[in-house]
Subunit: 345 residues, 2 copies
């Protein structure tokens, strides 16, 4: 169904000039006069001529495209990061193309290949939860195409990383719940083989230890944090326990909102019976009753930071190799869902 | 900073064979033996050789990449559509690249150019709200690269479209609110120059007319439906009116949840003082108190439908030109935020 690819021979025939002239014209060769060059460029554009050299010479080996690979696009945090990136790169004349790994290494590799074949000038990556091998980034390194990792990063990779202090955030949340009188704090989170969830979990355990509270393995649950997964875990496990938790630290706001709704529907009072803290400061944490205590994960600022570092590097004004890790602040935002001392109804 | 592009001459030199042999090998020419072809392919892959012909011959003129251009990625509806598309295309060996127009025609044109230069095999588009000129799709048509439009479409474009009956949905919502006793129904919506918002608005007006309720221009507000825009419109306009509306039809669930929170904070009872209906059936509509009546906009099913039509076309099993418009069902989901007859507290 597809038309034949346009070649320099087609252009030469249509313009009644030699293929060599077309080739030189597309390469902006000084021997070809401006008028001829313009005729060649115009026809090439009109007919949709596509090649390495045309693009690269027109635009100095650059496509002005930056690739982004993220685990999933279904969170407001991720769309905020991407909006932040896009805001900065647009002003610099770059365009983004985005793909999702769906948390799968295999898909991440396919996405990386697509990005490479699309000749992106740079790549921005948040790793899939199960990525163990990083060889799909080798081809970029070989061509000096810069890569920045954010949020979900890996220690093993020598590349610029932009993230928050997840350990500290996990610690602050747990400490806050302990200060509200919670003694049985349930931690529901994602796959802890990835830094974000692992570090928050480590912060949770350290805060317990610092307050002489024993870590109980049955108060730790790892799943995909979907609405369905939460309904299942409450119905089949938590509600069947002899002792209900009195605190809940759950690592995203949508999941926290779902848990809040499940608990309220089952007759529990929040925060009196169980205090809840989410993560991200998504809109959803502000529209529930009670509103949900959360960590302000500054997605937009993170995106802008990533893009600025990258653009500076691409423009030759900075060098990524001098910027190894950027840690952004992420503060606890107190709301009624966890504040028992103020809300003794 | 970037390495020189690898050419067939580099491959020839490294393999100690002629450039003609390399060129023929990459084109799968029968004169070159399998072992040599393999050596050429392996080195080309290793060094990151990129060209039209290599890709096209390796993969029969296909990149196995499908481009998606959407207004914004920050809605669960949009991520559900993309997930639905991705589910189907992945199984067929295609990979998606996605970009956002941010509701701007100019950016949509830049995205289309990027997709074209990335040699996508097909394009899926939901139009920006201000796109008036559609010439950026001409280059795709010239090369017979199929395009499917969804959700935000334009009558002027001769191409396959997948959408819901927005007029009917707007009519059903308004009729429901009238049946709940609402007489002053405020409609807050997006830019009505695009079909989705225009058709819902037309449905709203028709339902009013059919029930002998006069349409009042001050009960129609068009803005970008952000949290900030809603806070402003309530503080500076709605709360200052002599007569408050008794019904609210607002065209996405996040906006409905924000409006619900603003109204509750101001001391209004929902649905008693004001009944609310949103749109999309996003998670956020299920976690508020009261939960919000909405329209189930089946994003996932829409995405799967789009992808199936497209894959059939690309595989030669169907032909897009026979499928002009696909209308999916979108049903009203009744919840407490609008049900006054059952909730006379």
């Amino acid at each position: 169904m597809q038309d034949k690819e346009i070649t320099i021979y087609d252009l030469a025939e249509r313009l009644n000039i030699s293929a060599t002239t077309v080739s030189r014209g597309l390469q902006d060769h000084p021997a070809i006069n401006k008028k001829t060059k313009k005729k060649i460029f115009d026809l090439a554009t009109e007919l949709g001529y596509r090649s390495n050299k045309f693009a690269s010479n027109l635009r100095k080996q650059k496509t002005n495209t930056i690739g982004v690979i993220v685990p999933r696009l279904n969170s407001l945090f991720m769309s905020a990061v991407i909006s932040g990136i896009e805001k900065i790169v647009n002003n610099s004349g770059y365009n983004l193309i985005i793909s999702q790994s769906f948390e799968q290494e295999k898909k991440e590799k396919a996405n990386a290949a697509t990005m490479f074949n699309s000749r992106v000038d740079a790549l921005i990556v948040s790793l899939a939860s199960d990525t163990q091998d990083f060889s799909h980034f080798d081809s970029f390194n070989k061509k000096n195409i810069p890569i920045i990792f954010f949020d979900r990063v890996a220690e093993e990779i020598q590349s610029t990383k932009v993230l928050i202090d997840n350990f500290k955030a996990g610690y602050s949340i747990t400490k806050h719940l302990i200060e509200q009188g919670c003694k049985e704090i349930l931690h529901i989170t994602g796959n802890i083989s990835r830094n974000v969830y692992r570090d928050r979990f480590e912060g949770y355990k350290k805060a317990l230890a610092d307050h002489k509270i024993e870590f109980k393995p049955d108060l730790f649950i790892s799943n995909d944090l979907t609405e369905q997964a939460l309904q299942d875990i409450f119905a089949n496990d938590i509600f069947k326990r002899d002792k209900m938790p009195d605190g809940l630290f759950i690592t995203n706001d949508s999941a926290a909102a779902v848990a809040l709704t499940i608990l309220k529907d089952a007759g529990f009072s929040v925060p009196k019976d169980i205090a809840i803290v989410g993560f991200n400061n998504d809109l959803i944490s502000r529209v529930t009753e009670p509103a949900i205590t959360t960590v302000n994960y500054p997605g937009n600022e993170m995106g802008e930071n990533i893009a600025r570092i990258l653009i500076n590097h691409l423009d030759g004004e900075g060098d990524l190799s001098f910027t190894s890790t950027v840690i952004l602040n992420a503060e606890l935002i107190l709301r009624p869902s966890s504040q028992r001392n103020k809300n003794n109804e």
